[in-house]
């Protein structure tokens, strides 16, 4: 029994580190593609992983944090605050959908919600680039448009994966918290001002 277990382990234990990392990165990349072009597929749900959500959340939090503690600043989230909001929000939504009777597992739901932050992270990058230009109403309009489009994309992507797991008469109840979650993140992105 023990030798059999050891045999099974050595197949991935002896491979080079590059192989391991590339395999995980490819899985993450495949899931990114699924989010960008949402179709009804089970890949996100079947092989869930939390690497993608972690990368996205850290990127978003790094970009959203206000700079060094400056004496003239107030408000604006810190890194830890964004991180906590994202993860705590995702956990709450997952608990909510499970309590409503959904048949999705805890980590599958976290995985989907985390991966669907990808459009909003892209929006954050675009906003930061746009903010390098001259500030003004046009600047704000461009950012508003980008954030709205990405917000809609996130909602569509996550609904494509999550809606099927709920009983049909409670779909709206399960989708509304997702809407609220992405709305708050979009608001944080939209009101970001670099100092």
């Amino acid at each position: 029994m023990r030798s059999r277990v050891r045999e099974f382990d050595s197949s991935t234990l002896n491979e080079s580190v590059q192989n391991t990392i590339m395999r995980d990165l490819k899985a993450v990349g495949k899931k990114f593609m699924h989010v960008l072009y949402p179709r009804k597929s089970n890949t996100l749900l079947r092989d869930w992983d939390l690497w993608g959500p972690l990368i996205l959340c850290v990127t978003l939090a790094l970009m959203l944090q206000r700079g060094s503690v400056d004496s003239e600043k107030d408000g604006g989230p810190q890194f830890a605050e964004v991180f906590v909001i994202v993860w705590f929000g995702a956990v709450t939504i997952t608990l909510n959908s499970k309590l409503l009777g959904g048949n999705i597992s805890f980590f599958q739901s976290l995985c989907v919600l985390g991966y669907c932050i990808l459009p909003l992270t892209v929006a954050m990058l675009v906003c930061r680039l746009v903010l390098l230009a001259e500030l003004g109403p046009i600047n704000f309009m461009v950012r508003l448009f980008v954030v709205i489009v990405m917000f809609a994309w996130s909602i569509v992507a996550s609904t494509a994966f999550l809606a099927d797991s709920q009983p049909p008469n409670r779909k709206a109840l399960a989708v509304y918290p997702v809407f609220l979650f992405y709305f708050v993140i979009s608001w944080m992105i939209l009101t970001f001002t670099p100092q």
Binding site: S71, G76, L99, L180, W187, T191
Partner: protein, 362 residues
């Protein structure tokens, strides 16, 4: 045999006629699931069934009462126990929200919508939405008020724990409008030398003056959730205590009270969004309407529960409920929304707190 049949039939008829004659009679809510269900059938179920009523009809009601009793019998450490609190469908949630928006005198919110199926979905998510609505609308409203300002002066710690922010704006006629508002002093400002002196900061318009205020939002969330749970707890305890002294016909369970409070907060969400309009009169009208609607929902729900009691205690209870509600709404809104434009003053003369600040700095 015929006599027995007649008796059975009559019993069924009695229940329906008595309920039909007195629709306002409230039934004693059976909280304890272990209690054996009463022999009389409850609200008329299979109205079409005839002879077999005695067996089938009673059996059904017995079964349903047993099932209702079994609803919450999972031990509290299992997941299924908490699932029973989320056993609502979309249309039920919408119905309950509608009920909280349109208080009809005589219709009891609990009896009409919630009876025997209180849910925690509504209260939780309505409170969450309210917190975010207040924070975001406050941000937007402040942005609109301070639009067009290029620089602002601020006096950290001009009073203990408070920083005064003085913004200057030029209006269409070319006059300078000064507007002062107070914010809590940031902790890094508090002990710096030179706090109390006027500092200047340029703001890049038209971006909002303040980004999303996470600390303020956390405070608001704590207050709203505490209100939505602790006040019902206190009220339930009070009602239980009064019930032991005065036999009340109506009694509510703790979850039903939480449910009423949660749904009654729904009206504040559109109110908070409409508070973006920076007009004082509009804001006062909005908050009065919201308070009127949700206060009346609460009052009409709890009046039947205390009506049997001593007149003064009953009135005091209802008044306290409404007062606490008002305190919550006005407090939250006042904290997040800056006062709209004050009458414009020339840049040199200032309101009293500004002169204090100016005097301190010179």
């Amino acid at each position: 045999m015929a006599a027995v049949d007649d008796l059975q039939f009559e019993e069924f008829g009695d229940a329906t006629t008595s309920l039909a004659a007195n629709p306002d009679a409230t039934t004693i809510s059976i909280e304890d699931p272990g209690e054996t269900p009463k022999h009389q059938p409850g609200p008329p179920r299979g109205s079409g069934r005839e002879e077999d009523d005695e067996l089938l009809g009673n059996d059904d009601s017995d079964k349903t009462e047993l099932l209702a009793g079994q609803k919450k019998s999972s031990p509290f450490w299992t997941f299924e126990y908490y699932q029973t609190f989320f056993d609502v469908d979309t249309y039920q949630v919408f119905d309950r929200i509608k009920g909280s928006l349109l208080p009809i005198p005589g219709k009891n919110f609990v009896r009409l919508y919630i009876r025997s199926n209180p849910d925690l979905y509504g209260p939780f998510w309505i409170c969450a939405t309210l917190v975010f609505a207040i924070a975001i609308s406050g941000n937007l409203s402040n942005f609109l008020i301070h639009l067009g300002e290029k620089t602002y002066h601020y006096v950290p710690e001009f009073r203990k724990g408070q920083t005064a922010v003085i913004t200057t704006k030029t209006d269409a006629k070319g006059a300078s409008i000064q507007h002062t508002y107070r914010v809590p002093t940031a902790c890094w400002e508090r002990y710096q030398p030179g706090s109390g002196a006027v500092k200047t900061r340029k703001i890049r318009s038209p971006d909002p003056v303040r980004q999303m205020d996470v600390l303020g939002m956390s405070i608001a969330a704590t207050i709203i959730y505490a209100y939505a749970w602790l006040v019902p707890l206190a009220l339930w305890g009070f009602l239980v205590w009064r019930n032991s002294k005065v036999m009340n016909i109506v009694s509510y369970s703790f979850l039903e009270i939480v449910c009423v409070y949660g749904y009654s907060l729904f009206i504040y969400i559109p109110t908070a969004i409409l508070w973006i309009i920076p007009q004082k009169a509009v804001r006062w009208i909005l908050v009065t309407i919201a308070l009127g609607i949700s206060g009346s929902v609460l009052a009409m729900t709890f009046w039947p529960a205390v009506r049997e009691d001593n007149r003064r205690i009953a009135l005091a209870t209802v008044v306290t409920i409404v007062l606490l509600h008002m305190l919550l709404s006005v407090g939250c809104l006042a904290y997040f929304f800056d006062a709209p434009e004050m009458d414009h003053l020339p840049a040199t003369t200032a309101a009293p707190n500004q002169t204090v600040a100016a005097a301190k700095s010179h």
